[in-house]
Amino acid sequence: MTDVGRHPKITLHTMSEISDVKGYVGNFKVKILKRARYVEEKECTACGDCVKVCPVIRPDEFNMGLSSRRAIFSPFPQAVPSAYAININECLGHNPSVCAKCVEACDKKCINFHMSDEEIVEEVGTIIVATGLTPYDPTELDEYGYTRFQNVLTSLEFERLVNAGGPSKGKLIRPTDRKPPKSVGFIQCVGSRSLGKGKEYCSNTCCMNTIKSTLVLKEHFPDMEIKVFYIDIRAFGKGFEDLYMRSKRLGVQFIRGLPGNVEETAEKSMRVAVENTATGKLEFHDLDMLVLAIGMEPAKGTRKLQEMLGLQLTPDGFFLEAHPKLQPVDAATRGVFYAGCAESPKDIKESVTQASAAAARAIRLMHKGEILTEPITSEIDVNLCKSCGKCAEVCPYNAISVNKKEKIPAVVNTAACAGCGTCAAECAFDAIIMNHYTDDQITHQANSMLEEEPESKILVFACNWCSYAGADYAGVSRLQYPSNVRLIRTMCSGRIDEKFIWQAFKKRAPVVLVSGCHIGDCHYINANHWTEKRIAKVHKKMEKLGIRPDRLQLKWISAAEGILFSEFMKRMEELRKGVSVEEIDATVAILEKPEKEKK
């Protein structure tokens, strides 16, 4: 940690959060909101004189509220940076008539109440997301009595109690009587592997963390009675089984079964009722202290960051990697990488491994000092452009400029263009060529699919990042769905021109699905808003023309929603079965009528 503080190549922004991200791989502009510390970071020597005079006492977050701190504080002795900070919401204020005692106490004069929050812009080529986790709050699991009974602790609170730097100086004591417990129980999978409250997934580290804690206890108190209540012990890593066996050898009892209920006895001990699934018997265990091995949840700001960076999440709420096996640290967004629990629950070793991998992936991308862009960008046909400005209006990247007044044709800034193709779909004059996804390329693909037995097939337009990936995920999961589904991949659902849809219906497509990323998750900022609007427009036109609107479906399917994809294909097949040859004949007749007759 201190290496980070000292490293000449690292700029550390603490008390800071990302507020906006612009740009693309190689050239990101990241806005950071840096909250005021009210203590000069470089001047403060962490002497602690200010703390002695601060009259405000608050629970200490670092010690999980098991001790107290002042409104001016250092989070923990080894903090980096070591400078103190003031929680301005707790501070009584700098008006000398109110308080300002710390200002007087500080010899170095490094407390400055005139500091204000800053906005910093960092320009970077790559981004590593290492936002970590939120520990599960077991209060909702009423049966375990956390917060009702003081001697029921979370595993993180327990860590602080046995830590030499903790509130009890490493002396294990019960919160109620401050005496050392003679027996300690651990309950596993608290908030993990649960179909009810908590999460369904395994949090990966709690088994070994508990085993570690039992070893720590046995080292100090060889005679202590220790019981672990578990479903399975997952000791899968290198050296893990060894620790598990050592714990067993030292006399720790592993009881298979999660307690159904915990009650407090007159001595403030915990009476645990558990069905021992090894014996099938209901057992009661009295324990002086109970530790809940809490699981991990995604970090609080995950959703916000995901939207800012255009990333995807798994159904669990953790960040989704580009490929679970071959690109486990890359995000689908080029130039963004994951490290640690942001991607999934993991222990320290795995976090460190993934972090080094992420750093190597970032270096691999940056070391040449230049970047080759995807040439999948749009182009203007100046002969067809009417300078109407629609393309510039819909471009999520402001990559197109048009001078409407002087009727100067649109110009695309190819460096800023990300290639979603929304402009080409919206252009009423066919004046935009979307490279690699031209009108011709897409319609020919659809036409050749509809050449034979079109009535029996389901045409699906899927965006590369979400829905096409969702279909791949259905494949990887071997989820079976009707075999008459055919996908056409575009980079974004925003590319789906309404004429692709009309053309498909003309070619006797019974049903058409347009699918893309969920609103808010679009890989191209908000291009799928235009998809939504366009489909609504087509639906209205279909109604007016007398074509059943539900033959055109719009569905948001994410890269992680393989199940949804396969289920929705079954629904599409139901819809397709409801479209008769006569109905298709009628549609073709309507669509082939010359323009003016349609009205």
């Binding site: 008390m15 800071s16 620790l243 970090a299 490290a339 320290i348 750093a359 060529i433 693909q445 096409y468």
Partner: protein, 209 residues
């Protein structure tokens, strides 16, 4: 910012396209459901298809070698690879085209594994029919593709690490020790994250800080 030959005009239409189609068996991943030989045989009748064959593992070294040889021997100018998802191996095959002297964007992939053999495992006939359809769609698309050339842009050799827990710290140090500038952003007053609150850590049983 200098644009390097952003070629976007269609190839001249004077010469007919010469398309190579490769239906990958992917061991048995595709072949146990889809009749790959049959798909390749049907595809050989499609317009402009000069070579059409099934192949054990298109992505493997011998697989790629065979395709590259075919490209030069038969003057192929566009390639359809019917195999796994383009999200997996499109970069592999684009590089292969480049090695063979073709523009990497004259490639189209038909997804016969994730979107066909694996999702229609109990319907081999229907899956084979679908596989051919997917190949046919790809052939009609590849015929219309244009060569494209990427643009070179300057890049900022600086990384932002969001989060100062154990993962963020490790990533920042690895980058910085390799002489890359790092901006490490942490929302709380100190780095360290959850790791710093732990007492001893497994498997080494030493302290966390």
């Amino acid at each position: 910012m200098e644009a390097v030959n952003l070629t976007t005009s269609p190839l001249s239409n004077e010469k007919a396209e010469r398309i190579g189609v490769y239906v990958c068996r992917c061991g048995l991943n595709i072949a146990q459901t889809v009749d790959c030989g049959e798909v390749a045989r049907m595809a050989s009748a499609l317009e402009n298809v000069v070579v059409s064959k099934d192949i054990g593992y298109a992505c493997s070294e011998p697989g790629q070698h065979e395709i590259v040889d075919d490209i030069s021997e038969n003057s192929l100018d566009r390639i359809v690879i019917a195999s796994c998802s383009p999200r997996l191996h499109e970069p592999t095959f684009r590089q292969m085209l480049q090695r063979a002297g073709l523009n990497p964007y004259l490639l189209e992939m038909a997804n016969l594994r994730e979107q066909c053999s694996w999702v229609h495992m109990n319907e081999p006939d229907a899956a084979t029919k679908k596989a051919f359809d997917l190949v046919k769609m790809s052939v009609s698309r590849v015929r219309l593709l244009w060569p494209l050339t990427p643009e070179r842009l300057p890049l900022i050799k600086r990384t932002m690490v969001i989060g100062g827990g154990v993962a963020g710290i490790q990533a920042a140090l690895d980058l910085a020790d390799n002489d890359y500038e790092v901006a490490l952003v942490e929302k709380s007053p100190s780095i360290g994250g959850i790791m710093a609150t732990l007492d001893k850590t497994f498997p080494t049983m030493d302290c966390s800080i």
